[in-house]
Symmetry: C2
Subunit: 430 residues, 2 copies
């Protein structure tokens, strides 16, 4: 695909300050050229799919059940698909019943419908900082007041969340919900530790919290492990969002929400006003995939592909990055979150990076509050593995050159130049 048509990038472009959306769109259009290594778009490696199997499934769906596949369907989504998705969640240890699911147009529509359902203008949402740009987009389009809670290598800093909850209570205010991506977080590339999940579940009970658990990557831990979902710990307090975009394919635009019955009913009505119903055709392709194909094997294959790409990127970062640059170490999914010394602005740097034939997403897009100016997201899922080291090398050259400039301005003892190389004691940089 050509990157200028990547909707993730246009989202980022809207959120990156200091450049107009059209300037950044133009830059990413250039970034789509084959000579550029792009770590920008968060796209899965669809080339790793068993395409013959997908073709056979789609052909059979139309041949055997075409009059249904091409007709309108129900607003909640097909019962057969909902049952199959319950098995996918079961594979990950996420408890759910098919009646409680609403099928959505990818995870993005799930977030949009939940925002439309819950948010009145000015409502507070607590979210990890940084967090998913599409989540920020859906929430702010309904005028939520997003307040970030910092993360570190063990994910959301739940002790800081607790401080925020107490501070809000002291003001007589409440958060409408807490938005978390516990597994292989986008963009931070870290997961919430078990201890913190347990504590988050306790806090939910103590503070009567609603938690929005967004989980696109839970099955993509490189070693196959899964951590307990927040939903498995406090099911009645969690609205859970899943998607087939990363474990099968984004092109089928199939996500889902698991919600308690009264909320589910309201979400179905909102979805019917939004687009009537999901596509029966794509739903039945996903059903066919999940009921007739070895989808667990396909997920293993994706894990291997992404682990190889992550290893390559992490190795190259160790080799190429100058002192003062830090990054997270993912154990699953797609992303590395990289922090550069404060004298460097990653939005400003993007044009130079693209001239240097490498692209990334500047960090500001992942905060609602303008933070992240010295950070960037590197996505390793899409580029071919043999081009990843090349891209990191180009980025390294660029950052070496920029750091010479920073050193010239701040001197050798600038504190940020003494930051550790990997991991983070107290946050993901910033």
């Amino acid at each position: 695909m050509r990157l200028e048509t990547d909707p993730y990038l246009t989202r980022y472009a809207q959120r990156v300050q200091g450049m107009s959306a059209s300037e950044i769109r133009a830059l990413f259009a250039v970034a789509a050229r084959p000579e550029i290594v792009s770590f920008a778009g968060g796209m899965p490696a669809t080339s790793a799919l068993d395409m013959e199997a997908v073709e056979a499934v789609a052909a059979r769906v139309i041949r055997e059940t075409g009059a249904t596949a091409l007709q309108y369907g129900g607003g909640q989504g097909r019962p057969e698909l909902r049952r199959a998705l319950v098995e996918v969640m079961d594979h990950q240890g996420v408890p759910a019943h098919a009646d409680d699911l609403v099928i959505t147009v990818g995870g993005q529509q799930a977030l949009e419908l939940i925002a439309k359902c819950f948010i009145d203008p000015g409502d507070i949402v607590l979210a990890e900082g940084p967090t998913y740009v599409g989540g920020i987009g859906a929430l702010t389009s309904h005028q939520a007041d997003i307040r970030h809670v910092p993360m570190d290598a063990d994910g959301l800093q739940v002790d800081l969340l607790e401080e925020r909850l107490h501070a809000l209570a002291a003001e007589g205010r409440r958060a409408k919900f807490v938005y978390v991506i516990p597994n292989h977080q986008n963009p931070a590339g870290v997961s919430m530790s078990i201890e913190r999940r347990l504590r988050l579940a306790e806090l939910a009970d103590e503070h009567d919290l609603l938690i929005l658990e967004d989980d696109p990557y839970g099955l993509l831990t490189f070693n196959g492990d899964t951590l307990p979902s927040i939903r498995s710990l406090v099911p009645s307090r969690v609205i859970y969002v899943g998607t087939m975009s990363k474990t099968f394919a984004p092109g089928v635009r199939t996500g889902w929400i698991v919600a308690p019955r009264p909320i589910r009913d309201k979400l179905v009505l909102l979805r019917e006003a939004a687009d009537l119903c999901p596509s029966n055709l794509t739903q039945m392709v996903v059903e066919g995939w999940l009921t007739s194909q070895p989808w667990r094997e396909q997920i293993k294959r994706f894990r291997e592909v992404y682990r190889d790409k992550a290893d390559t990127m992490l190795g190259a970062l160790g080799d190429e990055m100058p002192d003062g640059v830090t990054w997270t170490v993912p154990v699953g999914a797609f992303y590395v979150w990289l922090t550069v010394p404060r004298g460097i602005d990653t939005s400003d740097l993007l044009a130079k990076a693209i001239s240097n034939r490498v692209a990334y997403v500047p960090g500001r897009g992942f905060y609602a509050d303008g933070s992240g100016g010295n950070q960037m997201r590197l996505c390793f899922s899409y580029p071919e593995v043999e081009r990843i080291a090349e891209g990191v090398q180009r980025l390294g050259e660029l950052l070496h050159a920029e750091l010479e400039l920073v050193t010239a301005v701040y001197g050798d003892d600038a504190p940020q130049l003494r930051a550790r190389r990997t991991g983070q004691a107290s946050g993901l940089g910033g």
Copy 2:
């Protein structure tokens, strides 16, 4: 498909007064039984599609371009599809450029995005009365104040529209836009005459109006004729909505908006917040259909199927309906709008109708203001042609019995019992 999963019906169910949504859902669930002839759901006859051709197209899309078809796409929709849809519009005489299109999840998402883009709470929208239930749903979900303008056998009564415009101007108010379905209107089954289209275009200029032209059925005139679109008459004042749901298949969930550039840009941003992007897979199936298959022939086939069904229904109505019942005479698409004497409430009557093994949609769903209580929509597109007369006969028996009751209450000279059998001098009844 099973009717209880028809999202059209759940929409209606929400809008029909006097019964709870769950009661009407339960009724329609019963209506899905095979012994019942349902004129309720507005579903196309997908069984008339060349299914082998669709299968071949879908298989080729995945075989030859699977990595793209299964990947994310751009928020505006694929340029290739937009170009193909320009040809579809050209076939109907609707002028457009591919750059000005936004691909949507069916016509419903088009209406939702336009409502989100334009409507502030309390904004006035002028709309035909009756009008599309999904349009009412999208507009009222953004708190529009919908004001209906009556129709007759020649469609929207443009002289009454002009009166409304003057009355609003006298109050110092304006309509945000005028929502019209000029061709084979849903639910009224009538089309706007050429004279009225020309006058509507003049009014748009005189009153600086924006027109939302919703056109799902323009290519489905039984004799193949097309009337000039409002867009062809005043292009700069019209936002045009199209869909492949009725000329190909609703299961691909593919509609589109044609809008001036600055509005188009805003709609793309709204759609990215709503669901990121349309499915590449379904877009490429539609592209393949439009570029490799005789889609104009398929539309001819649909016209023949619907003409036969309309003829059957209209013949049966003439044979079976008691005096005092009137109906519109469609020359295309899916619908007959039927008016019964005022003593009969079509919402109340629905349970009896279903007991009598025939279903329809009560008229109130098609008005924002509670009108339509003595009206119903009969959709002839989906039932097999041989069952249509049977269904009309059952409805006729029921209405004969109800009218005996009305006559007993009002006496023989109740004015509604003297109404003409077909056509309407001053409106579609009510």
